[in-house]
Amino acid sequence: MGYTISEKILLSHAIGVKDIAPGDFLMAKVDFCFGNDITAPIAIREFKSLEKAKVFNQNRIGLIPDHFLPAKDMRSANQVAILKDFAAEYGISNYFEVGRMGVEHALLPERGLIMPGDLVIGADSHTCTHGALGAFTSGVGSTDLAYAMAFGECWLKVPESIKLVFTGKPRKWVGGKDLILHAIGDLGVSGAHYSSMEFTGDTIDKLSMDDRFTMCNMAIEAGAKNGIIAPDKTTESYVKAAIRKHKPQRKTFKKYMSDKDAVYSEVREYNISKLEPVVAAPHLPSNVKPVSELKDIKVDQVVIGSCTNGRLSDMKEAAAVLRNKKVAPDTRLIVIPATQEIYTEAVKEGYAEIFVKAGGVFCTPSCGPCLGGHMGILAKGETAIATTNRNFVGRMGDPESFVYLSNPAIAAASAVTGKIAHPSDL
């Protein structure tokens, strides 16, 4: 019997086993591991408790302060200092400072630090994002990161694989965010529990890398262990461009595909040709409704950014909607490009000017308001629509606030009307 792409990558990295099956526990070699300003302090403390003289490989560890950056207060600043000092002490090359950084799940692929065929663990739940590169990438905890920094290994349980086949041409304003929200609405927040979500089909084949990252980013919201899209010409062009530009240490990669006789625990098919943009309503990412059912809901804040939709094409889409328009008088618009490079490009292309002229703000890369950190917290009773990935109770601020999740075009249109809207309403 054949293997799925996830199984193949796990097997190629597993230590001491010749074949694997879902449910098996194994110890695997990791190609790269990373953490941020919230998760790495614990990992560093645990690593130091081992009194080990060296990390497993100084070039295969990433320390990316991005959640509460630029440091929002003394306590956050002290947490970042832990990462900075540790990087200096142990010679870790991939530490990213304010002004030269980005949100981790947009920054790492941009820099060519994660490759197709890799096994990567990150101390952040949205590590699944990088499956869009055809790698097995999964979110773990701080202690797992400490162990990986010491030994370059991680214990893993082989997941079942679920195949999601998307067919049809998406309508205007429908993108990766709508496709993944549609799937999460169908599966529920634990519908892909402990599974590998494999995205395939002609729709996926034609998706841009940005849209693929968006889809894999939210695999965790269905309870998945990882999300993955088999690498193709689109993936290769992206990876080769990143290697040319940033010259990472590793320049070669392996492409894996699922076997034709691979075994899946479930296969679901979605023909999305008639899908209209969708929105996840409070307080679960699976509470998905067509945008047409949610018009007239007043919004106090719009956030466009995050590891889900903070990339250049997201900026472009939002700018296309906001060009020559103004943000509604009772609404705040906060735009956060996910990396310094995206920020620079958005300025060059004129998107930043569009956002600011409309009456919105254009911020330095940060996770910021997505997790209720800083740069746009909600007051009691306020409602936001955001291109982020979670809308649990209190996610963006007061426990009595509300968050709707959408794609950039819907968020931008909502900023103009002050209510949940579709670009065609403008």
Binding site: A53, D85, G141, Y147, V189, S190, H193, G394, R395
Partner: protein, 219 residues
Amino acid sequence: MRLKGKVFKFGNDINTDEIIPARYLDTSDPAELAEHCMEDADKNFIKKMKEGDVIVAGENFGCGSSREHAPVAIKAAGVSCVIAKSFARIFYRNAINIGLPIFTSIEAAETLKQGDRVVVSVKKGEISKAGQKKVFKSEVYPDFIRDIIEKGGLMEIAKEKIPAKDKIKPGDKVKAEVKPKAKAKPKAVKKVRKKAKPKAKPGKTAKKKAKKRTVKSKK
């Protein structure tokens, strides 16, 4: 080992933002995190619970973020174990890695009610109401996981794995293949921080220093 305590019952999909909201993630100190345990699910939980009490929940407990702060807060608050119908996968591995006992049992999670007194045998994975014979069996851990739990967490296993030659020797500087320029940076940062200190209110700064010492001594 037998755990005993009162049940605190929660529903399905209790997520990490409810267990430990992001506004408290500017620290990794277990004692500080414990003060806010379960705050956005039940703001009075930490006031009502006592050392040894048990959290019983529905499906998908701990869904959402990978923050290890979630099981750390639960453990540091004095919760002896979590029983649920099912656990979200990152929470599951984090709890095991830090030595917080967790048990998967649909029957126990459905039968136990708020306020019930329970007894849990960690080794056997058996749960029962105090004074009653009926035993609920938890899903059995694979050997691999049982080993981590029995040793007290993943770091205990890690410590056994490091040969003496790879350890830092007392008095040694940590060896790192780092250019001298990179090493100089932390000193520059420290200088800036020292300059900033006088600007802070003396009372607040003193308090912060005291807190730091407490954390270090706990290590």
